[in-house]
Subunit: 352 residues, 2 copies
């Protein structure tokens, strides 16, 4: 018999974290009763059991309360956090969805269960496609799409381009490097540990990589790895690495700016500035920030291409799965340590 | 009877100026004999008497000797400086040019006379067109073309866009503001004196303008002048103004980077950095450096459009003319003081 009321644990924002890594002072778990009886669900809504939730660095930027400085829309205090996720439809008041459908949504509550308008669902997933569900949050999700927009749309990757990927073993970086290789680029990555250097060279096919924690002079490092200069820099870290890159860019280099993880835990006035932006004039560099939400008209093209790569084994991903909704704060914190490998996901409920 | 040998005074680079405004320690005038006899002129070359030379801020960036930090090709030591100019053909070994033709060249020696390959000449000027010759170095020259590329090509100016022009009373800025107005933008300028604020509002049609020397908090200033945010920022100054702008950009703002005059006289490691570049992610800003030399395939389109505006009186320019080749160093220095108005030009020889 169908359960009609569940206790759903969810994460809400108890306080903004102006700087530092958010802790349970800022992110708090609570339990709320949620009615799943069909007559309590509004028309054109569905009740969903969350299966997997995507944990991405951009979430941090929505918790600072520094609207002016950071320019990402802030989560509201005492409201549930939202994130990209995969869920299973439990009840439906929309004839396009049925119980058991597996669905994707960019703004699921970080919760065990929810009731959402069916209009927010991106699409159904075919469980027979042979792709593990967490992959829909990795190569086929926010990080994969960000990598695709960065490398293929804004980076204009071409055979022979020299591509540099920062945060190269992270969720975006590992996919970006593989995409750039598929486009014929020479690809170098920077990452935060020797183990990750090995990972991206051995598993993700980077031509070479370095551990930025061991480099004392990024300028010298880039001279060594880019004797012919940099044509594409997928920017994920900011500050000193960007400054070094701007001393090695080739004419008409592209710098798609996906994020700047080194900057998320600092108030902007306390960050180190980039002093050599003038170089973008002489080298005619195009530096462009992007949010994947602005490219959703390309999401279907991306999905077709990426599903093809996955089925042909041309792209793979490494996914770190944290168990249970209670692991959200810890998993988010892990993104800001050098220990994190690949894409971070929470498994909220076991898929049946 | 034709003169066969002239003494031509020319400016050469005696030493690089890593920082500060170049002085006569770095820029030195010398006199060299130049044969103008037809048999001494190589085939496909012309002998030219310089009439007007364009004095632009980018020239400074070619005198630092800091190739890595600045990324502009450096002038060679002991070689003559080159600049955009207008000259009169005195002798021709190319049937396309005749004595008396008025010609444009992007790389004339900063000299009284020269012999150059005819292939470097951009075009002949029709003296009957009714446009004063210095205007070919202003609205129709490097600064006018830079303004056009910045506002129309990269800035994608549209009716209703909020456009902000820095160095607004300078050679590029005065044209950029007028072009943005013609495209239907709301245009605000920043400049370095109250007299220039009046000039750009009264003569160049800026909707409003401010004297940055009187503003203590650029963030507050931009809040006042851009209650609806900034869609286009034509970057000509860098540093603190750019930082303030990045706190006021609208989604998908364009920042064509023409130059950063506040940065030219400092070694890059000593400049103040820009700390809030992360904002270009959240607002999806496109920041793009450009050199007009890369857009020469559009120069003819630009010329047609700009000549039309000039003839219709829709665009005007203010030109400060320094007399004589000896005024080059002083005129270049004037660009880095707040006292400079409009486009700076040297009149080398009087047009006949």
């Amino acid at each position: 018999m169908a359960v009609n009321v569940v206790e759903s644990k969810e994460w809400y924002l108890a306080g903004y974290a102006a700087d530092g890594v958010p802790t349970t002072d800022h992110l708090t778990l609570r339990s709320v009763p949620l009615s799943l009886s069909l007559d309590s669900i509004p028309d054109a809504h569905v009740a969903v059991q969350l299966l997997f939730i995507s944990v991405d660095p951009y979430l941090r930027t929505r918790m600072s309360g520094q609207e002016d400085g950071l320019y990402f829309p802030q989560f509201s205090l005492n409201q549930v956090i939202t994130a990209f996720g995969v869920g299973r439809v439990m009840r439906s008041k929309d004839e396009k969805y049925s119980e058991g459908d597996i669905v994707l949504n960019a703004f699921f509550p970080v919760a065990e269960y929810c009731v959402v308008p069916s209009s927010v669902l991106i699409r159904k997933i075919d469980p027979e496609a042979g792709i593990p569900l967490p992959e829909y949050l990795s190569c086929l999700g926010v990080p994969g799409f960000a990598a695709w927009v960065g490398i293929e749309v804004l980076g204009e990757a071409k055979p022979g381009s020299n591509a540099f990927i920062s945060a190269a073993a992270g969720g975006v970086g590992m996919v970006a490097g593989q995409l750039a290789k598929l486009k014929g680029c020479r690809v170098i990555g920077s990452t935060g540990s020797d183990a990750k250097v090995r990972l991206i060279k051995e598993e993700f096919g980077y031509d070479d990589a370095f551990n930025y924690n061991k480099e004392v002079d990024f300028d010298a490092t880039l001279s060594k790895y880019f004797p012919n200069g940099i044509d594409i820099y997928l920017e994920n870290v900011g500050s000193k690495m960007l400054e070094a890159v701007l001393n090695h860019v080739n004419p008409h280099a592209r710098i798609p700016v996906c994020g700047m993880i080194s900057q998320y835990n600092q108030i902007w006035t306390e960050r180190e500035g980039v002093r050599n932006l003038l170089n973008i004039v002489g080298k005619e560099v195009r530096m462009e920030g992007f949010l994947v939400g602005s490219y959703l008209d390309r999401f279907a093209d991306f999905t077709v291409e990426m599903e093809g790569y996955l089925k042909q084994g041309k792209i793979s991903s490494k996914i770190k799965i944290y168990e249970g909704i209670q692991s959200f704060a810890e998993s988010l914190g892990s993104l800001f340590s050098s220990s994190n490998f690949g894409k971070v996901v929470i498994e909220v409920n076991k898929p049946r």
